[in-house]
Symmetry: C2
Subunit: 224 residues, 2 copies
DNA sequence: CGCGAACTTGAGGCGTGTCAACCCCTGTGG
DNA sequence: CCACAGGGGTTGACACGCCTCAAGTTCGCG
């Protein structure tokens, strides 16, 4: 567990300190179950070990926005640091396991092990940069570009985790993708179909195979 | 400077430590000038002291997205922690001053002064929560709702800084507001005009007076 | 195995974008 | 001190991309 559930890139000695001090419980979350809810007390951050999650922000009138899909290695729950309460729901899209990292312990240990603190800051920073990139997609791209960017981002993340970058099973529904991308589920479905007609990919329900990643990238680069 | 340019809520003793150890230079930035650029080396975070900034993300094809407007007390530059390079441009919308907080020093001092570290984490967390809220606006709201949310957010922030919550001068152009909200400048202009026609506010160029904040809030709450 | 949820596809409407003309304000130079 | 230039803002007409609503199909789960 030590080499991937906690920030990597630390020395053996540092890992020893962490192993013995930062008691990270592994928690199982069944498909559809909620890891934490809006308003619930924040006292730990979570790192996805297996499975995929979505985080959802909800307005008082019930409007929902998927703010992210988290998979192996991704952090969840840092939104709660500010107010001590979570601001999103975290829901498992398939049976999953997460490392529970008590926040108090992490703060204390970060002080003693600078690389751990740095790694934590880097991950928060990365989340911010990623969010800004999503804002760019939502704010200035058309449907096709958003879907293309979504798929390329997904394959990148799968590849970096050692999975196939071309063939995959989507863990989220069209509705959830649409919410994340600021589109209606019908538009997502239509765009998939259009991409397939254009020979960019094969899609059949949640099974997707990217046959022309360069073509998708060109869509984003404006090479029509 | 100590009581507002650095995280507040610390004890006198802690402030003493900071005053003497964290040498925060005050840097002036003229209107239109760039504080840092995409790709430039990250070595300090900045806290706005006076003035207003915008941060802008740009794609390789020149597409631009304003990712935020920063005013007194807001942090800028944490996007650079992850890769060591900035991912956005930070541009002053009026003559401004910022505290330059060397990142290495902040990390070191955070270890010695837990409340400082906590405050820093809270501010990063707040930025993430805020970004998610912007994603919700961009992903699931119509033009009027976005503009209303933008104005209410602005007045909130001005009020918490001791300024009038009703009358203000916008520091950003219609184009910049539009970019931030995922709308075209004409749509922003039209929406302002419509709000004025409905008696929600008075607008004349960049001078805005909110006359019916409740009405704006109702727009967001779906009370049409 | 069967039901319900998820997905696909079509037709039509609406909101926002696009393009264009005009106005207002600022600031600059004669 | 005034005239003019130019950027920013407003407003209108029209187009188009995405949403809405609806019907039919497929698939996954109990």
């Amino acid at each position: 567990m030590r080499e991937s559930c906690l920030p990597v890139g630390l020395t053996e000695v540092e890992l020893e300190q962490i192993d013995s001090r930062l008691v990270t419980v592994l928690r199982k979350v069944a498909r559809g179950e909620t890891l934490f809810r809006v308003g619930s007390r924040f006292d730990a951050i979570f790192q996805v070990w297996t499975g995929v999650f979505k985080t959802v922000m909800t307005t008082s009138q019930g409007r929902e926005q998927v703010t992210g899909f988290q998979m192996g290695g991704d952090l969840m729950g840092v939104d709660g640091i500010d107010t001590g309460r979570h601001s999103v729901d975290a829901i498992a899209l398939e049976d999953a396991q997460v490392c529970v990292i008590p926040y108090g312990t992490l703060e204390r240990l970060g002080r003693e092990i600078p690389p751990l603190q740095q790694q934590f800051h880097r991950m928060m920073s990365r989340e911010i940069v990623n969010d800004h990139s999503v804002m760019l997609h939502l704010g200035s791209m058309c449907a096709e570009e958003r879907v293309a960017a979504f798929l390329l981002n997904l394959t990148d993340r799968l590849r970096s985790r050692g999975f196939s970058a071309s063939s995959m099973v989507l863990r989220m529904s069209r509705d959830e993708i649409g919410s994340y991308l600021g589109l209606k589920l019908e538009t997502v479905s239509r765009t998939f179909s259009k991409f397939q007609a254009n020979g960019l990919l094969f899609v059949r329900q949640r099974q997707i195979q990217i046959t022309d990643p360069i073509g998708l990238q060109h869509l984003l680069d404006g090479f029509v």
